[in-house]
Symmetry: D2
Amino acid sequence: MFNAAVLGASGYAGGEMVRILDRHPGIAVSHLGAHSRAGETLSAVQPHLTDGGRTLGDNDPDHIPDDVDVAFLALPHGSSTETGIALRDRGITVVDLGSDFRLDSNERYRQAYGSDHPRPDHLPEWRYGLPELFDVTESRQVAAPGCYPTAVLLAIAPLAAAGLVDPSAIVADCLSGVSGAGRALREDLAYGAVDEGVRAYAVTTHRHRPEIEMALEAYGIDHPRVVFTPHLVPMLRGELATVTAPTETDVSTARDALEEVYSDKVFVSVIDGPPQTRWVVGSNRTLIAVWVDEWTGRLIVQSAIDNLVKGAAGQAVQCANLMLGLDETAGLSLDGWMP
Amino acid sequence: MFNAAVLGASGYAGGEMVRILDRHPGIAVSHLGAHSRAGETLSAVQPHLTDGGRTLGDNDPDHIPDDVDVAFLALPHGSSTETGIALRDRGITVVDLGSDFRLDSNERYRQAYGSDHPRPDHLPEWRYGLPELFDVTESRQVAAPGCYPTAVLLAIAPLAAAGLVDPSAIVADCLSGVSGAGRALREDLAYGAVDEGVRAYAVTTHRHRPEIEMALEAYGIDHPRVVFTPHLVPMLRGELATVTAPTETDVSTARDALEEVYSDKVFVSVIDGPPQTRWVVGSNRTLIAVWVDEWTGRLIVQSAIDNLVKGAAGQAVQCANLMLGLDETAGLSLDGWMP
Amino acid sequence: MFNAAVLGASGYAGGEMVRILDRHPGIAVSHLGAHSRAGETLSAVQPHLTDGGRTLGDNDPDHIPDDVDVAFLALPHGSSTETGIALRDRGITVVDLGSDFRLDSNERYRQAYGSDHPRPDHLPEWRYGLPELFDVTESRQVAAPGCYPTAVLLAIAPLAAAGLVDPSAIVADCLSGVSGAGRALREDLAYGAVDEGVRAYAVTTHRHRPEIEMALEAYGIDHPRVVFTPHLVPMLRGELATVTAPTETDVSTARDALEEVYSDKVFVSVIDGPPQTRWVVGSNRTLIAVWVDEWTGRLIVQSAIDNLVKGAAGQAVQCANLMLGLDETAGLSLDGWMP
Amino acid sequence: MFNAAVLGASGYAGGEMVRILDRHPGIAVSHLGAHSRAGETLSAVQPHLTDGGRTLGDNDPDHIPDDVDVAFLALPHGSSTETGIALRDRGITVVDLGSDFRLDSNERYRQAYGSDHPRPDHLPEWRYGLPELFDVTESRQVAAPGCYPTAVLLAIAPLAAAGLVDPSAIVADCLSGVSGAGRALREDLAYGAVDEGVRAYAVTTHRHRPEIEMALEAYGIDHPRVVFTPHLVPMLRGELATVTAPTETDVSTARDALEEVYSDKVFVSVIDGPPQTRWVVGSNRTLIAVWVDEWTGRLIVQSAIDNLVKGAAGQAVQCANLMLGLDETAGLSLDGWMP
């Protein structure tokens, strides 16, 4: 049995981390950290979780007990850098759910965030935690991608790597449930501001675009260019990516290319019709479907995930399982919840 | 390992039965039955469930394999009678999630449904499957109550049994998510007919009122009278009962009476503030809170459950666990899903 | 043409005030006030409204132009007192949508709010703005009730006044859409905290209970006692009151008593089945239905309104129409929006 | 005052037609038609509308009274053809909200619907009712486009006509509220099948693609090719189009091209940030925003409408206003409803 720390346990992704780990056969939660809610009980902060009297500690890496083998960091952007490095220095396996270590160079970080990375020398040591596309088995420190890159990359990377689409003209329109925006108090996330409406945000400027292009390059694709437009949809969970690119192939070749990569991947299923996000809520699965539109010479590929599971906590556990030598699926559900 | 059959596996409660049983350590699904969707794969009918190639058979009790130890019937009203009796005749443990065997006499059945029960002589053999209030351990045939009686009874029965409220003047206003109405195609359950609105239905005439009063009597309460008004709320899951009755007690006495019954019941928690249905979605838990309003001399007690878990499939599994000698919590989650 | 000022124009009720007044044939908006958003354009704050270049001023009553005939105050609790008195001193007709002047005495105010009213001597001068029950024609200063008292009083007052129910044992369970809680930034009103769940709040302690009882007394009912439990429902607009009380009458007598009061009231309709909030969204109508449950000797009466229209801005305009000698329905819609 | 007939008054678009016309200063409803619900009162079928005792007649054009000047057809696909021709033969001005007369040739009709048009010789006589792009003033028979073509064309047509984008590589991802699918009883439109999820449908095969391309050609654009992917979003109303195309222009040139077409169009506003569908619910407005992504050489343009107003009934009234010589905005609201 491995012992885990979850920092940022008061947020949505942190709560999902605890929910998953509490039924994990090989990992037990031994430390919970939070920032402003440190000192409260878990059930005060996450009333859907049963606590057995557990209290949230703080997020200070020095307060993590020595018996911790693996740490999951579900912290706001910028807060993982020093914590992640400190935990690595103590020999703890780390999965960062945040964005601090996802980009592989200071140049890319600057492109995405407009400022220098505070510890750029550390960036190369972190693996990009999308296990269906990048092997993390040998690593002890992983930066797990969020919901948008996960959904887009799983959909288009195998097709682009097989040379079936023009990677310089990818259009990715993504639809996300509200939990993807986190639990911080924001006027634009009030019920009265979200219900019964849809909207895009960060058009042309979202920081996940450079990350997606970086990962495509790392997967062997030259000069990818992605138009990435995220949209907020009035639902709690779920992420649907609709990715379009010029193609000269046919649909069965495209589907074969997906199957070649995913046929032995338990968490990805290539299906026939449009995937629905409802089918994967609560599950670590990704559902993918592909079409070729001969009239326009365009390939359309869609992927559906649960943004808090495969797009956050589930993927983090999947990475930890692989790094710790556990079964990849340990603690993770293939089944979703419906209705 | 016990083998289970689930009849009516294509509905919402049936799907939840399979989801729960598929992660049950002591019960394995060996037969799935459906009516109009017999012959289809499970994943065609319940796309959130992974199937391993399972195909739905029909609901005919004669087609249930001999290795089945326990059958869960999630069938439309009236369809369980002959099936339940036939399965009992074969010695199979039966949990009926429907209403065919919930009432204990033909008189009551007529009061609720306006017609005679087709096999009234069988009614006394069935136990009412609300294990926190009625022992089902020795039984092999249980009629599990639905979400409304479960929520109302768990809230008010201990208080009425302790003589703390006037049982002849109980008012129960209940709010249910849409999945409680089942998966049948109905105009009044279209998205365009449900979203962004609330409404009551079956005011003064709902068939669950006689059932609630029967169970209160069976729990030792004389002459209960319940005004029961169910409301439909635009959400998928969840059931909140707000129950009011005249009282002369104080809140701490009331709370003590609840704790006395529930302190050793793992699935019921008495909490301080208003329970939210969101906190128990996906969980088999019931959250209860009680207030006494001195100004009006009224006690208010609320309970929140997931109508498909504690109000249907979870409670059915809880009953089966008890009848089969398994741990009461086997396969059942205390944690919910949020957000 | 009368000129109007709307203070608090940046909130939900204030926005609805402007939307209604902008199509009112007899009242024109000549001043818009806001607090933190003063200086912004109307369309920046209320993007669904077209502005013609209008800018929000502040809420200071001294900044209201001299040509203003009527002022609508949609301000936070406590903010209307001095403003309302100052505007009255200038001879301006005032409709307060807030709670500062709803209670008729300092004693009642203390019962509801736990502190003394700052200007109790002014309380008797304000009329309670529920025109179907209380004549406001001769007044120039009205405190319009909010959604809960409006819905509950319209449902039960005529029945209690006719002696058809026991007014000392009224149970009112109310369901409100989220806009009823206003536009202020609150953690418990985030989309992630509201969607897919229901909950009660302020059980036994809501400040509207004393207000409801005061209005019942003012309507001629002795010693009313109301158990009032408000619930938050995941929808933007709508308010449903389910009111239960002991009765010895029959349903046709009860219905007659409602019709006697409402047959000549254009904004109230007594209907046969359960009213749905969806049917009155955007409308100033109230739908009422009544049942008598002989088994329990209880009358159940329901009313449905749009909390922002009949429960706020629409009722305010209705009061202003009556005070200004305009047609009661001027600017108000009977039709709702659906779906 | 012109007299109007509304056929298909029992559907969502038909109900919205009646709601708008009932407050139209120049058009009065004198006949309501329905199919299966003929004989019922309007309020039985559309409970949000007040009826004054109006009863639904049938949809037979011969039953339309002689005093009718203008007919609005909100009928299922294929049902308008003979009715529209018969009404034109009687000299009645016709606005068809359906798809029977939208395409301008049998060839195109076959491409979209896979069969011959039953009366192809009539197709050229109908004007395409998108008044911001096509003049309908001189016509007496208009086929008004639905929500998808309206949103996509208003967004991209001016930009393509100005030569600012490559029209052969347009990608249009569209998000629609559920009312866009109509009121027919369908399993995939049940609340339990829609809430809390998103999905695409008719990927590569939607019949609106040929219509969009036809209209682009009619607007002077050579060889347009559009990848069109519609998505269903859990909300009642609203339509958001996200349209991407290769460009070599900059954003201010693009915005100028939009303003040049729309600066004198009262129902279209070019705005700065992403348009939200919530801002136009209940309004006949279209909100448009444009971006140029230099990194990918792509232009992104978004438009937001209310699918039942600008995407159906409102646009139909706008067309009728223009054909009848009324003010273009008569009876139509610029303001929306929020929250």
